[in-house]
Amino acid sequence: MKQIVVISGKGGTGKTVVSGSFAALAKNKIMVDCDVDAADLHLLLHPAVKERHEFRSGQTAVIDKKLCTKCGKCASACRFQAIKDDFTVECFSCEGCALCSHICPHGAIHMEENVAGEWFVSDTEYGPFVHAKLGIAEENSGKLVAKIRQIAKELAEKQTLDYVIIDGPPGIGCPVIASLSGVDCALIVTEPTLSGLHDARRVMEVAKHFNISVKLVVNKYDLNTAVTEKIEAFCRERDVPVVGKIAFDKAVVEALVEGKTIVEYAACLAADEVKNIWERLR
């Protein structure tokens, strides 16, 4: 079994367009959407939810008004400015460290577990799909990513699937690190802009930091061929194979609007190249 994650550093470079196409191209696989706070892959895969689970993670402090004497010990110890002037807890700021509950001289503070989101196991016409929805303004996206990856891996082992294909989040922080850990290959999708190059370089360093093998795709490569060449030269220097260059194609947006993967929507240059990329990757 091989685990492949699609990441980008910069957002909006085409991760989901590429991984959605892999869903249509790869045989015998499970799909995972690890962009849990702005998940989009379901808009292409149209899942029928089979299982729905609560994701419990983290805690929030709750102050009992009857016991609180407003001594202020909690507020001065809290490093996250989560205790408001009226001695209630600002739940968006509370990191759930529980320090306040330990030091309150009157035992007025207790911790309550958060329901931080939901995760799902679904059927799609492309095979099984594990995805999640982080609760509104909730934390711990990295842990939710780790959770659904573990579920997907177990399912893949049980059903002896060949691939776990993961649509990753943007950035380089905790959900990205959780998406990368233990994969066989990270495919970076970037675009020929200075921001695209800058961000691809940083996420590449993260992958290297965790010893993950990296390949790269330049999406909309013809929007600026000079920057595309720069990206290719940069990859050559670092021995990162460039496994594809996808042309800018309005059909990509049209396919999105129809809720279809580009390889199923139309015979076009972009679709052909995505097929080539999958052949080079598998």
Partner: protein
């Protein structure tokens, strides 16, 4: 006034809007809070005058004082401490996993032996610079570091309310975004008229409503895709502040790191209008309260 520019979905044009808005106005303080992937500097090319390292406090155990009681492990909500008790003739050991530490200080404060002190661990850097009348600040998270909110909080300490503050936010809807937009007077959500853009816009709107921050929408590449973003905004009474048509000129200019207002001065008026729109909505909302 603090105006943050956020989006839910990445790559919709946050940085484009934030940068061009800032360049169209005077006496701006520009703060890039996308510390995982800061990009605004590529466009603004500020002259960096000062750099500060950003740290979080992590525990360090004085093995001479530690009796391996396990109190620190028990109070750590992040499982960042493991304690192996000593056995006959063998010393115990207390292990710290700094990457899991949120720097809350519980272990050092609650250790009965006073055996834990906090030492600084670097998580990134903050750079401070200038561009004409604009003050520029951004944070840069170290590669391999998982938690951006502590760095975002430190970047935001530089906020100077004597200026109009424009904050470029990270994508998504979770902790980095919330830490960034908290305390903003207004949030501009940049989206694109596709199912992905709409899906993530709805999530971002829910977050901002929960945080009780006034908001408006900029539709970028408004002429590709479909009309569902607009009908959603109408239905939800969300003001559409500006629409930017797809143009190869903007795309190429972006790819080269050149703000469109520097290439085509006529855009300046459009971004000044965006600012006036924001002020109008903000004033109306304030007068209602």
């Amino acid at each position: 006034m603090i105006i943050s520019v956020a989006s839910g979905k990445g790559g919709t044009g946050k940085t484009t809007v934030a940068v061009n808005l800032a360049l169209s106005l005077k006496n701006i303080q520009f703060i890039d809070c996308d510390v995982e992937e800061p990009n605004a500097h590529l466009f603004l090319k500020p002259c960096i005058k000062d750099e500060a390292r950003a740290y979080i406090p992590v525990p360090e155990v004085d093995e001479a004082k530690c009796v391996y009681c396990g109190k620190c492990r028990d109070v750590c909500a992040y499982h960042a401490i493991a304690v192996l008790p000593g056995s006959e003739g063998k010393k115990g050991s207390t292990l710290i996993f700094p990457h899991l530490c949120h720097g809350c200080g519980a272990c050092s404060l609650l250790c009965p032996q006073g055996a834990i002190k906090e030492v600084n661990k670097e998580i990134g850097a903050i750079e401070i610079g200038e561009k004409d009348t604009m003050q520029f600040i951004h944070g840069r998270l170290n590669v391999g570091e998982a938690m951006s909110p502590p760095l975002i909080r430190q970047v935001k300490k530089y906020i100077n309310l004597t200026r109009t503050v424009i904050i470029d936010a990270p994508p998504g809807t979770s902790c980095p975004v919330i830490t960034t937009v908290k305390d903003s007077d207004f949030c501009v959500l940049v989206t694109e008229p596709t199912p992905f853009g709409l899906n993530d816009l709805i999530l971002a709107v829910e977050v901002l409503r929960k945080l009780q921050i006034s908001l408006g929408v900029v539709i970028n590449r408004c002429d590709i895709g479909d009309g569902k973003v607009e009908s959603y905004c109408k239905k939800e009474n969300i003001p559409i502040l500006m629409k930017i048509p797809f143009s190869r000129e903007i795309a190429v200019s972006y790819s080269e790191g050149v703000p469109i207002v520097e290439k085509d001065i006529s855009y300046q008026e459009k971004f000044i209008n965006l600012y006036l729109n924001i002020c109008g909505i903000k004033n109306e909302a304030d007068s209602r309260h």
